[in-house]
């Protein structure tokens, strides 16, 4: 970064206290115009708080915010938006029933001015507001379409949000910020749900934005992204700034150390497999539909053995969620069979799967993994509540169990009576892992267990999963992170458009090879448009 660049944003001495904790302790944070500035830190380090202060969601106890030499007094997100700050949140803030364009129009400023600047012809009936509305709608549609084309987002602007998958929804959020002509865009974990290809395009987009004079703040846990795509990086730890560095002067390991205050082991030691020949879970010719009734799984054959990690690689939206849900009894299949521990449990209740010692770490912690406004105690015993109650609940025993999980799984929380939604993502994920592993399952389905959490928690959760596997649990690991798949799995399958298009063993494949398969670059080409599953299965490697 050339030092003569003008400072666009200056947050000076920001202090934000919550009962019992100082989330931001005199944080000084400065961003230069036209840069991509990384904001790194573990969960609970204060990144989110700092960005909520910047977005007007929190009022700081101390400190000042300056933008372009003007002091800002942000009382609400509206003030932040009017000051030219755009935010792409990690948790989507979209209205499911409305279309993409309608969602993007919400929160738009200056709509009427823009409409007035390009009025519709006078002959159109109904004057004034209707014409303004129509013009606004048409204008928005046009602009959204233009943005979609320009940035290569593959979204139908008239589709309703509920019809979109997680990845597409995230793209709408990004579009929304792009649409608002923000001068400074904050992205919170923007690539968490994007495929490598989409991520690459996103960063090209971000680079284009910065070249045209915009500024980007990137909150991410992926060190590669910081190294590859940011100009400077500010590292937060325990609410304080550790350092602000030019990214090309530091290594990944140095950044990680700054962030967690110790050295992080990036490569889990070479695993010696603990797999046996006993199958704990088996799917045969499994078919299932998604919420829209469209076939999401087209004949999956999959076996997980005792003490084995089977990694499922693929970009989200290719049937991962459906497969995971079928294997834990949450979703009914339309054809095929599921056996758990040798018993046929096809389309049985989720309770039967739980009773058969199946555990599940769902993809979306908040939506599927916890009961957000209940306490940690209740969340800790949610699945095994029968062990803590015949008719009456044994509160004492439940509290002991929750205490144990909080301690064993390093869940950082003020106390066990805290509501689950008050935990940070990483800590909630540790709690969920604790709940699912403390029951010593025979079969564990882990769907994106480390998505969107900090490096320390990622490392921890991977270790815990592997320890569990060593005790004989068969694990089916869904992940979009290829390194995670490669490091943790004994066997790897690639899921693409509802089919297993590739099977291999860890150590016999490479990142590149799997990367090609997950994007459908191989295997399916000859059968695109057809439904001839047998030809794709012919490509499978016998395992």
């Amino acid at each position: 970064m050339s030092p003569d660049r003008s400072t666009v944003l200056e947050m000076d001495g920001i202090v934000k206290r919550f009962p019992g904790v100082v989330a931001n302790d005199h944080v000084t944070f400065s961003v230069a115009k036209g840069e991509i500035h990384g904001l790194l830190g573990e969960n609970g380090a204060g990144k989110s708080t700092l960005m909520k202060v910047l977005y007007g969601l929190y009022t700081p106890d101390e400190g000042e915010i300056w933008m372009n030499g003007r002091q800002l007094d942000l009382e609400s997100p509206k003030d932040a938006i009017e000051s030219g700050i755009g935010m792409v949140h990690q948790h989507f803030k979209l209205i499911p029933r409305l279309s993409v364009v309608q969602n993007i129009m919400l929160g738009e400023r200056k709509t009427e001015e823009r409409a007035a600047s390009r009025p519709l012809p006078e002959w159109i009936p109904f004057s004034g507001s209707v014409r303004a509305l129509m013009s606004k709608r048409a204008e928005s549609h046009e602009k959204v379409t233009e943005l979609i084309d320009r940035y290569g987002f593959d979204i139908d602007p008239e589709a309703a949000i509920w019809e979109l998958d997680v990845g597409e929804r995230q793209r709408v959020e990004i579009l929304k910020a792009l649409y608002r002509d923000a001068e400074l865009i904050v992205l919170d974990e923007p690539t968490a749900v994007l495929s490598p290809k989409e991520s690459k395009e996103l960063f090209e987009t971000l680079r284009r934005l910065t070249e045209s004079g915009l500024t980007v703040i990137l909150i991410t846990h992926k060190l590669e992204e910081v190294i590859d795509h940011t100009d400077r990086t500010t590292v937060l730890r325990d609410g304080e700034v550790v350092d602000c560095v030019d990214t090309d002067t530091v290594s990944k390991a140095e950044l990680a150390e700054m962030m967690v205050g110790r050295e992080v082991l990036f490569d889990i030691e070479e695993r010696t497999t603990t797999a046996t020949e006993t199958a704990v879970a088996q799917a045969t010719d499994l078919h299932a539909e998604d919420e829209r009734g469209i076939e999401a799984l087209s004949g999956i054959d999959l076996t997980v053995h005792e003490g084995e990690v089977v990694g499922v690689a693929g970009v989200s939206g290719n049937g991962q969620r459906e497969l995971a849900e079928c294997l834990v009894g949450v979703r009914n299949s339309t054809a095929g069979e599921i056996t758990i521990g040798g018993r046929d449990l096809t389309n049985d209740s989720s309770q039967s799967f739980i009773d058969a010692d199946v555990s599940y770490i769902p993809e979306d912690r908040y939506k599927f993994g916890c009961t957000p406004d209940r306490s940690l105690v209740e969340n800790a015993i949610l699945k095994d509540r029968a062990s803590f109650s015949r008719i009456l609940l044994d509160h004492q025993k439940a509290r002991e169990h929750a205490d144990q999980i909080v301690e064993d799984f390093d869940v950082r929380t003020p106390d066990i009576d805290t509501q689950a939604n008050k935990l940070s993502g990483g800590n909630l994920q540790k709690l969920i892992c604790g709940r699912e592993l403390a029951r010593d399952p025979d079969f564990l389905v882990a769907n994106q267990p480390t998505r969107g959490i900090d490096v320390g928690a990622i490392e921890y959760i991977r270790e815990v999963l592997l320890e569990q596997c060593a005790t004989g649990t068969g694990i089916l690991l869904f992940s979009e992170n290829l390194d995670e798949i490669l490091q943790m799995s004994d066997r790897i399958v690639v899921l693409y458009e509802g089919e297993i298009v590739f099977k291999t063993r860890a150590g016999e494949t490479s990142r590149e090879e799997i990367g090609q398969h997950i994007t459908g670059a191989t295997g399916r080409d000859s059968t695109v448009g057809g439904d001839d599953g047998s030809s794709t299965r012919a490509l499978e490697v016998e395992t």
Binding site: R109, S349, S389
Partner: protein, 367 residues
């Protein structure tokens, strides 16, 4: 909104994080004062001295008789409030407490008139039959919701009207007394005993037991645990093996039983015969009660006390002054409106921003 000078006012609403003392205590006070003032306008408009009327209201409420009538009124309100509260904790709207009240009233009357049993046994059978009948009735919306996702609000609401109409038919079926549009009077053995020379009847014990039962179920049992967690997140709960059928049908069944007890108590304790329209909107008031008391069974008790006081206070004015009965409804409605507005002010901050330039934005805040 545009002002004449071209400036604009925009309104933004955000959640209040730490309500100040002034807000916490000022808002309820404001609710009471504002609703008294507002209802006072209506009272004054029909030529009655509002201050004197309110004075009468307070003194009559503080009298032994006034207090006893508040408790009498609380019995059906508490039971019906709990009937809405239990499904509400599972995320369901039981708009059909009224249906249960009428079902309970009909069944209790039928049992009381047809069985010849000693008093305590007969009353027990009446209560059990009434509770069971309306519990079974609520299996209809429960099953439809659990199996087909048919909106329980519509089904329970329509059942209310169905049962109101059916109660008239039931009176005909059971044979009415000559010239009177009601069923025969219940035999003495079927009439709930009254206490202390007031109208407070056996139903008060039913109400207390129901309150304790609901509290225990919600806070001490596995079923209550499952209800509360299902209400918090149905997906996560089902994934954890909590059956949707069990929760949806179970809570609506309990709601049905409770509202059935309300109907049986009202008929056997107050009316002593089945009369058409014996429930003056208890089922709907119950929704407001459950909403206000949604955080705990004992808050439902307090909310039903609140509504009983408002009703009896207003009814006393109607009794002692030449005002139409509608004034009771007006006072009740005004209090509910101000109460809800006060709740809103307590929980949310409202900002009015005037902007010098004519621009406007609407931001969705999900904070």
């Amino acid at each position: 909104m545009e002002l004449p000078n071209g400036r604009r006012i925009s309104v933004s609403i955000s959640r209040r994080h730490d309500p100040s003392l002034a807000i916490r205590y000022g808002v309820p006070l404001f609710t009471i004062v504002a609703s008294l003032l507002f209802a006072g306008i209506a009272i004054t408009a029909i030529g009655v001295n509002a201050v004197a009327a309110y004075g009468t209201m307070v003194t009559s409420l503080l009298s032994f008789y006034g207090l006893s009538e508040v408790i009498v009124r609380m019995i059906p309100l508490l039971l019906a409030g709990l009937a809405v509260y239990v499904p509400m904790r599972a995320g369901l709207w039981n708009i059909g407490a009224g249906a249960g009240i009428y079902t309970g009233g009909i069944v209790a009357t039928a049992v009381g008139l047809s069985l010849n049993l000693p008093g305590p046994l007969l009353m027990t059978v009446m209560l059990l039959a009434a509770g069971l009948a309306s519990g079974l009735l609520m299996l209809i919306p429960g099953y439809l919701r659990a199996k087909w996702d048919i909106n329980e609000i519509l089904v329970t609401l329509l059942l209310t009207f169905t049962m109101i109409q059916f109660s008239g038919y039931a009176i005909l079926l059971m044979g009415s007394e000559q010239g009177v549009q009601s069923s025969k009077t219940l035999p003495v053995a079927a009439q709930f005993p009254r206490f202390f020379g007031t109208r407070i009847h056996l139903g008060v014990i039913v109400g207390v037991l129901a309150l304790l039962a609901v509290y225990l179920i919600m806070n001490r049992t596995r079923f209550g645990f499952e209800i509360l967690n299902f209400g918090s997140n149905p997906e996560a709960s089902q994934q954890s093996g909590i059956s949707k059928y069990k929760i949806v049908i179970g809570t609506l069944f309990i709601g049905g039983v409770l509202s059935g007890l309300a109907g049986a108590s009202e008929v056997a304790g107050i009316q002593r015969r089945l009369v058409p329209n014996f429930s003056p909107g208890f089922g709907f008031t119950a929704i407001a009660i459950a909403l206000i008391g949604r955080n705990g069974a004992f808050r439902v008790l307090l909310a039903s006390l609140f509504f009983a006081v408002v009703y009896i206070g207003a009814a006393n004015i109607e009794l002692l002054y030449p005002v139409p009965f509608a004034i009771v409804d007006i006072i009740e409605a005004v209090v509910i409106l101000f109460f809800i507005a006060g709740e809103g002010i307590r929980r949310f901050e409202i900002h009015l921003n005037t902007s010098p330039q004519p621009e406007e934005s609407a931001e969705v805040v999900n904070a």
